[in-house]
């Protein structure tokens, strides 16, 4: 069972102590920050050059604000590690990857076989997001779109 899952090259966890968004914005030593559901990921944008790890917390799986937070960071060009932590289940991780997450530290370990199935199950995607997958509409209309 997987306590930690990384899709980044190398795969090791960046074991940096993540500080709160407020603490991070106020001082310059940290390179890891943790975003809670109610917090504005855009506050991080001026500081992206010194961030190596962003943890996005999902206290309960049904609170989907972290999906927007992740996508906003990637849309702004953040290329460091983006980790989903908390109530993260195998049934959510493929959507999380599409929003830009590339590592996971779930409260409950993940079954590697189910992880594999989750990533390979759907042959296509209907939307363009921040992952490299070409949406179905782009495939229909050739490489000049999307």
């Amino acid at each position: 069972m997987l306590e930690f899952l990384s899709l980044r090259d190398g795969g090791e966890a960046a074991e940096l102590p993540a500080v709160t968004l407020e603490a991070f914005s106020g001082q310059s030593n940290s390179t890891a920050v943790r975003i809670e559901p109610g917090e504005d990921a855009r506050e991080l944008l001026p500081h992206l050059d010194r961030v190596a790890l962003v943890e996005v917390n999902f206290p309960v799986f049904g609170d989907g604000r972290g999906y927007s937070a992740a996508r906003i960071l990637r849309e702004a060009g953040y290329a460091g590690e983006l980790r989903a932590v908390g109530d993260v289940a195998v049934d959510q991780i493929s959507h999380m990857v599409r929003c830009g997450f590339d590592s996971f530290r779930p409260d409950k370990p993940l079954d590697p076989a189910l992880v594999e199935a989750a990533f390979t199950r759907f042959p296509g995607v209907y939307q363009k997001t921040v992952d490299p997958r070409a949406p179905i509409w782009a495939q229909r209309h050739g490489a000049d779109h999307g």
Partner: protein, 543 residues
């Protein structure tokens, strides 16, 4: 109508396989109910009052005969031989076994159907106008955009765990047959400088805090609609309330934030979204639109209808509407026989309607938000034969938009959220007004019943609305007057203290008597109410 290509089919097939695995994991104990519940809901499977209930999506309400036959097959094979058409143009089955659900989804996938996102806090089935493509006053067929949005919203990675459910309707006529402004997002196709685009309303809805959606943007070009909706949804996903499920719908956000501030945030997000290449090329919308090309209508047909059979003439006068092509008509099939269950159809009725669509209406049917069925392209010369066939199957009731054409939610007979039964009230009212002549004398009168405050029966939008409540363990019914879900949208007002089951039937009759006594030439019930106000009705009801 739209047909899946290999991409669409592969997505739906993958979803069936995924749900089969998830169901197996639940049945063998790997998943708890807490873990499984959101997964089954995303596939339309509820645990209801008597059993599991499956809600199957009918995208924008349009069905082929083959698909309707499959719905009949599912009713026979896996349920108790009937289904219930809903106010969101879907169908529900009430007696599903969990172990059968994956097989049902596989059967649906075999005819390009699914139950994806018919529940859960995600973007639900997109609804539309049942007269799409055939009404004379429409700007363009709204269904290609609805299909584009169906695909965009399916498995959307950012918007699957929204604060609450999210309903979108798309229309293209002045006349609103889809309660567009009572949706989380309502889209009306409009023309600007010769270009067709979307006029967008955000933040409508019923439930315990009914609101009519304000306009947020007068025109969004088709080429940017996806970006614009992503912006609308992102502002909602980030800022919609999650502390109280009764305040979590987007209408509350728009109301509390204010329309101007919500609009400002959407515009800001939209400016950003437009740079990301999220919008499909117009060629994609054109590809979809080609599937909705008009069927091969015959030309030179007569518009004459032989009305010498008086029962047939009565049916024609209520159920048949003008079609934009000479010689053709739109036929509304009532699922509201007097004393029946609004929206229910047996498998035999579904099969018959499918056969009749194949024979008389280019193989296509539509489900309406008023829980009826439409055959959109019937030759006037075929109307009599069609009516005869419908009559024999108890589908020939002539009551469209009359007082017995009642919208009713399943209520406490089926629903675990309900506080009171809706269906028996609908049956008693229909029986009280069973005389068709009397109904016609009352004219257009939309009566809508919900069994709880969630308002699945659209009581706020009824000319006469009824809300079932629980008063110390006893069913009680509040009366509302003056609502409308059409282009003259308005929310009904509560008359005063509620009534018991027989009392509410009497109260409805008294309200109609006030109307008859006060109406002027050509006034509908709702017009009279708007003119004379609540006072005369209250006086009659509570004297």
């Amino acid at each position: 109508m739209y047909q899946y290509d290999t991409y669409d089919q592969a997505m739906v097939d993958a979803r069936v396989a995924e749900f089969r695995d998830q169901t197996q994991r639940r049945l063998d104990g790997q998943l708890s109910e807490a873990q499984f519940r959101p997964l089954r809901l995303m596939n339309g499977l509820y645990l209801q009052l008597h059993a599991y209930m499956l809600r199957v999506a009918v995208p924008y309400g349009t069905l082929s005969s083959k698909q309707m036959h499959m719905l009949a097959h599912i009713a026979r094979q896996y349920d108790r031989d009937y289904g219930h058409f809903t106010t969101r143009q879907n169908i529900q089955y009430n007696w599903i076994k969990l172990a059968d659900a994956p097989d049902i989804l596989a059967d649906l996938a075999s005819v390009e159907m699914h139950a994806i996102q018919t529940s859960g806090n995600c973007i639900r089935n997109i609804s539309s106008d049942q007269f799409a493509g055939v009404s004379a006053d429409e700007i363009a067929d709204p269904r290609p955009l609805a299909e584009l949005l169906r695909q965009w919203s399916s498995f959307h990675p950012e918007f699957t765990y929204l604060p609450r459910k999210f309903k979108i309707a798309v229309i293209a006529s002045q006349e609103d047959r889809a309660a567009m402004r009572l949706h989380d997002i309502g889209i009306e196709l409009v023309k600007k400088d010769g270009e067709i685009g979307a006029r967008v309303f955000v933040g409508g809805g019923m439930g315990r805090t009914p609101m009519v959606a304000p306009e947020i943007r007068a025109f969004v070009p088709f080429a940017e609609v996806v970006s614009y909706l992503e912006a609308c949804l992102r502002v909602y996903n980030r800022h919609g309330r999650r502390d109280n499920k009764y305040k979590a719908r987007i209408k509350i956000l728009v109301h509390e934030m204010g329309r101007e501030e919500y609009t400002r945030q959407v515009e800001e997000e939209f400016a950003h979204m437009k740079t990301l290449g999220l919008d499909p090329p117009l060629a994609e919308l054109e590809r979809i639109a080609a599937h909705f090309a008009p069927p091969p209508y015959e030309t030179g047909l007569s518009d004459e209808i032989d009305l010498s059979d008086r029962d047939f003439a009565a049916w024609v006068s209520t159920q048949v509407k003008p079609h934009k092509v000479p010689g053709y008509a739109i036929v509304n099939i009532s699922l509201k026989p007097i004393g029946g269950i609004p929206g229910d159809a047996s498998s035999a009725q579904m099969d018959l309607m499918a056969d009749l669509a194949e024979k008389y209406s280019f193989d296509e049917l539509r489900v309406t938000h008023a829980q009826n069925i439409v055959l959109a392209h019937v030759k006037k010369a075929d109307l009599y034969a069609l009516w005869k066939a419908l009559e024999e199957a108890d589908l020939g009731t002539a009551n469209l938009d009359l007082i017995s054409d009642i919208i009713a939610c399943p209520g406490l007979d089926y629903c675990s959220l309900a506080n009171a039964r809706s269906i028996p009230v609908a049956q008693k009212i229909a029986e009280r007004f069973s005389d068709l002549g009397r109904q016609k004398e009352l004219g257009e009168l939309k009566l809508k019943i919900s069994g709880c405050i969630n308002a699945c029966g659209h009581h706020h939008a009824g000319n006469i609305g009824i809300l079932g409540v629980d008063r110390k363990g006893v069913e009680n019914y509040q009366l509302l007057l003056g609502g409308s879900g059409a282009e003259d949208v308005s929310l009904g007002q509560i008359t005063g203290p509620g009534f018991d089951e027989n009392g509410i039937v009497d109260a409805v009759e008294k309200a109609t008597n006030v109307y008859l006594a006060n109406r002027t030439e050509g006034e509908r019930f709702v017009d009279t109410f708007r003119r004379i106000g609540m006072a005369p009705f209250k006086e009659a009801l509570y004297a």
